[in-house]
């Protein structure tokens, strides 16, 4: 049994002392040549011999019961192998880290679009044909609630508070009370959810598109009713996740069920429409922000109440006010969440659950408050930065938010910002906006194995790389710790036969799997020091040479055979004693067309401090990607449901508008400020993948206000809404 290291106290900054100088370097991704030449194999790419093809069938009622699936309606389809349904079919993907089967509703239908059957045929074309023609009868419920504002089932917790909000709000010299809404969002990863299941005896191997294999293995086993030891999942390449592939999905369970029944491999790839219909969406939100301040800008009261939704039997509720609870302090703080139960595609984690939408509202409210106070928005934020978490009194483990704000203002040219509506270039109003960025940081239990031979090292963990750079950074950590050129380290991921890692989610993957890899390599260093006959502090490893105790020995001589170490890490008491979060500042410049209301983002700058950077190149890509998601949430992205049936009307990429090349300016900059978070984990890192989106959309919307007076309370700020808001503002 591998001993698990608990993060109970700050650890030495070993990666600052090792000699290879490779951690943090902007190295190319090692898997890059495979990806750019089409040789990286994603879940749907490996079609085993004799594989059958499955296509999922969806429910077309909002709620009720399937009374009949008439297989005779497709019996004329040539090559049809079977129509699968029954008690083990799953309603939707598991929530992140569930570790157990998602809801298996039997013949019940809980939302329009729910997968209710799998049609399997010899060819994809035949399966698709039969899936479209399969006759299904329902007993449909009437008066189904699909609209959260009409839901009669509201679950409300007691407010989370610090101090007396009502009193502080009443005593404030300037107050603001605003309601903002955000629509549901889709992760819309480019790779549709896919699974290839193949049985050998009573054991199944699944090639899947999944983010968290340690949990997914248990979820699949529980769904099928078999022992987790009989499940192996392979996900070496995943075509994007953003939360949508955290849990085992209907495609995987259905493929495994059908493959077992048919005694041959089955591939199920969701159509893009099925991805929209049945993969967890981000909830819509309605958010009421109340801010109270003194005339000098000191915040006295802050309340952020939200209403979100989910389907029955799902425990997830978007933590909308997460950042509002620690970003700024005030005498009185109050946060209340209301969860509406509705019949719609279930809600779950989509990139930065909580902050992604909560900060759209909070950071616009702060902008509005600055305007009320006649204060610079940067100054208002600088004036209200707490030195500890205002709700819990935990000191921050590391924060450079003030530096990010100042550095960002300087580098962006914030001083050139004009008063509202005063910069006009032809038909375009031009403005600048900014927002703080914040995203809480976590360490999740993770294990990894490192093997060292005289030729190099190998890292093995079931960690995934969903585009985040795991292959790159785990190689760099190992190379750094063992003093090897990067080319001599191989990283093997995405296989449940390897030690179980955190998986990719919540921005904790690099810190968690990285720490486990670091600890395994550290254990190897200890053995090497023994063999060198020197103390650990005397040992230097560089370019394959060990130095210590006045000796210099090539690793090829020192390591006879193989040194293998496995290590595991988990969160400890530093998570209680301190509060860890990534912080940053976003700046945006936009142009708004005076007559059409079209918004063009001209440039953006994100200045972020997110602990030790493990690879400057992949970290930057993550941050940029997040900022572009900010563009989408501010301006274009919106899932639209038919209010009568809950049918998702925008169920493809032509109707759900993710940003395209032309929506994104070339001038997007990211600046990382040097930081070490000693309380976060043994490698002093923080999460990166989600900080970029947190606050980015608000910076854009604040720039729209500065440009042309438009403040859009119902996001996204599409041209029709911008024009209306411009009219209202007298522009």
């Amino acid at each position: 049994m591998t001993k698990t290291f608990r993060m109970d106290e700050a650890q030495p900054r070993l990666l600052d002392e090792t000699g290879q100088g490779i951690v943090g370097a902007p190295l190319d991704r090692p898997e890059g040549p495979k990806k750019v030449s089409g040789r990286a194999a994603y879940a749907a790419d490996g079609l085993p011999e004799n594989a059958a093809h499955g296509v999922l069938v969806r429910a077309t009622i909002a709620q009720g019961r399937v009374t009949k699936i008439d297989e005779s309606s497709v019996s004329d389809v040539s090559g049809l192998l079977g129509v699968f349904h029954g008690p083990k079919m799953t309603r939707n993907p598991a929530q992140g880290m569930a570790g157990e089967a998602p809801v298996q509703p039997g013949d019940e239908v809980h939302y329009h679009g729910q997968p209710i059957a799998l049609v399997v045929a010899e060819s994809f074309e035949a399966a698709r044909d039969a899936a479209q023609r399969l006759a299904v009868s329902y007993d449909a419920d009437t008066d189904v609630i699909t609209d959260p504002s009409r839901s009669e089932t509201h679950e409300q917790d007691d407010p989370e508070t610090a101090g007396d909000f009502e009193a502080a709000f009443a005593a404030s010299e300037v107050t603001l009370d605003r309601t903002y809404t955000t629509p549901p969002h889709a992760a819309a990863a480019m790779e549709p959810h896919a699974a290839v299941a193949e049985w050998e005896g009573d054991a199944v191997t699944l090639r899947g598109a999944l983010q968290m294999l340690r949990f997914n293995k248990k979820e699949l086993a529980d769904s099928l009713g078999i022992d987790p030891d009989k499940v192996r999942i392979l996900s070496p390449y995943i075509g994007g996740g953003f939360g949508s592939k955290l849990g085992i999905g209907p495609e995987a369970v259905a493929a495994a069920l059908a493959a077992r029944e048919l005694g041959r491999p089955v591939r199920v790839v969701m159509t893009r429409q099925t991805v929209f219909d049945s993969v967890l969406r981000r909830t819509e939100t309605s958010q009421r922000l109340r801010l109270g301040a003194d005339k000098d800008g000191t915040l006295r009261a802050l309340s952020h109440d939200d209403r979100v939704s989910n389907i029955r039997d799902e425990g997830f509720a978007e933590p909308v006010s997460q950042a509002s609870q620690f970003l700024y302090g005030a005498e009185g703080l109050s946060f209340t969440q209301t969860l509406a139960r509705i019949c719609r595609t279930p809600a779950g984690s989509v990139r930065a659950p909580g902050e992604a939408v909560g900060m759209l509202a909070l950071e616009q409210a702060m902008d509005e408050l600055a305007e009320e106070l006649g204060m610079c928005p940067v100054e208002l934020r600088l004036k209200n930065l707490p030195d500890k978490n205002p709700m819990t009194d935990q000191p921050f483990s590391a924060t450079r938010l003030a530096d990010c704000l100042r550095e960002g203002a300087e580098q962006f040219g914030w001083g050139e910002r004009k008063p509202m509506g005063e910069r006009r270039e032809g038909d375009w109003y031009v403005g600048m906006g900014m927002a703080s960025a914040a995203r809480s940081n976590m360490l999740i239990k993770s294990a990894a194995r490192v093997r060292l031979t005289g030729d190099g090292a190998v890292v093995e963990t079931d960690m995934t790389d969903i585009g985040t750079g795991s292959y790159a950074i785990l190689g760099q950590i190992t190379a750094e710790m063992l003093g090897l050129p990067i080319a001599q380290v191989e990283v093997r991921l995405g296989d449940t036969s390897f030690p179980g890692a955190s998986g990719s989610g919540g921005s904790f993957g690099a810190s968690s799997a990285g720490s486990a890899t670091f600890l395994a390599a550290k254990a190897i260093r200890e053995t090497l020091a023994e063999r060198m006959g020197c103390s650990l502090s005397e040992l230097t490893l560089q370019n394959g040479i060990a130095r210590g105790g006045n000796r210099e020995v090539p690793l090829s001589q020192l390591v006879d055979g193989e040194l293998v170490e496995e290590a595991s890490v988990e969160s400890g008491s530093t998570a209680d004693s301190h509060f860890s979060a990534g912080f940053g500042a976003h700046f945006a410049e936009v142009a708004v067309h005076a007559y059409t209301g079209e918004v063009r983002v001209r440039r953006m700058l994100g200045v972020m401090a997110m602990g030790r950077i493990l690879n400057e190149k992949t970290a930057r890509s993550q941050a940029l990607g997040g900022m572009i998601w900010g563009i989408g949430s501010a301006l274009t992205e919106k899932l639209t449901h038919d209010p009568r049936t809950g049918h998702l009307a925008t169920r493809d990429l032509a109707n759900y508008h993710v940003p395209a090349h032309a929506d994104v300016p070339g001038d997007l900059k990211v600046v990382f400020l040097e930081e070490r978070d000693d309380m976060a984990n043994p490698i002093q890192t923080k999460g990166i993948g989600e900080l970029g989106i947190s606050g980015a959309g608000a910076a854009i919307l604040n720039a729209v206000r500065n440009a042309c007076g438009a403040r859009v309370y119902d996001m996204p700020a599409t041209p029709d809404r911008v024009i209306t808001a411009m009219d209202a503002a007298g522009f």
Partner: protein, 168 residues
């Protein structure tokens, strides 16, 4: 039915369902899985291949319509050991993250640069005639049929601009 065409310089003959798309034939029959299916509706560009030198969404093409055509897929542009200038630039500029849309981006950009050289104008072109500038607005406009949810867009365009300069 049977269809004959050339893929990456190799003559191929496939027996296929009349309903089969060029994308599914390339992937499942010919094993050229570098070409991806992201939407199957011509909305994302992940399935972009070149047919007789022009970029198309292979999910919108029936295989049966391509008798005697010459196809180029991502596999035909380079291998991990011998990458094209554009493929190398994607690696060095980090013009991708998950890599799923990447083959489509690269095939599309390869054909797009030829369109630009041939003087085909776009919405972003200052004039309908004469030489087209290879600026960021021009590349962004011409590449907007290729979605990237990881949102590597600025870096994809850096890579394209870099490779275009190397070539010219």
């Amino acid at each position: 039915m049977r269809t004959r065409f050339t893929v990456n310089g190799e003559p191929r003959e496939v027996e296929h369902d009349t309903r089969a798309t060029l994308l599914d034939i390339l992937r499942d029959q010919l094993g050229l899985t570098g070409t991806k299916k992201g939407c199957d509706h011509g909305q994302c560009g992940a399935c972009t291949v070149m047919v007789n030198g022009k970029r198309v969404n292979s999910c919108l093409c029936l295989a049966a319509m391509h008798e005697d055509d010459e196809m180029t897929t991502i596999e035909g542009l380079g291998s991990p050991e011998a990458l094209s200038a554009l493929q190398k630039a994607f690696v060095s500029q980090d013009g991708y993250q998950c890599g799923f849309c990447t083959p489509g981006q690269i095939v599309s950009a390869t054909a797009m640069l030829e369109e630009l050289r041939a003087g085909d104008p776009s919405y972003a072109s200052a004039s309908l005639e004469g030489e087209m500038a290879l600026d960021d607005a021009e590349i962004a406009e011409r590449m907007s049929g290729n979605l990237c949810r990881c949102s590597a867009y600025p870096l994809i365009r850096e890579a394209i601009a870099m490779a275009a300069e190397v070539k010219s």
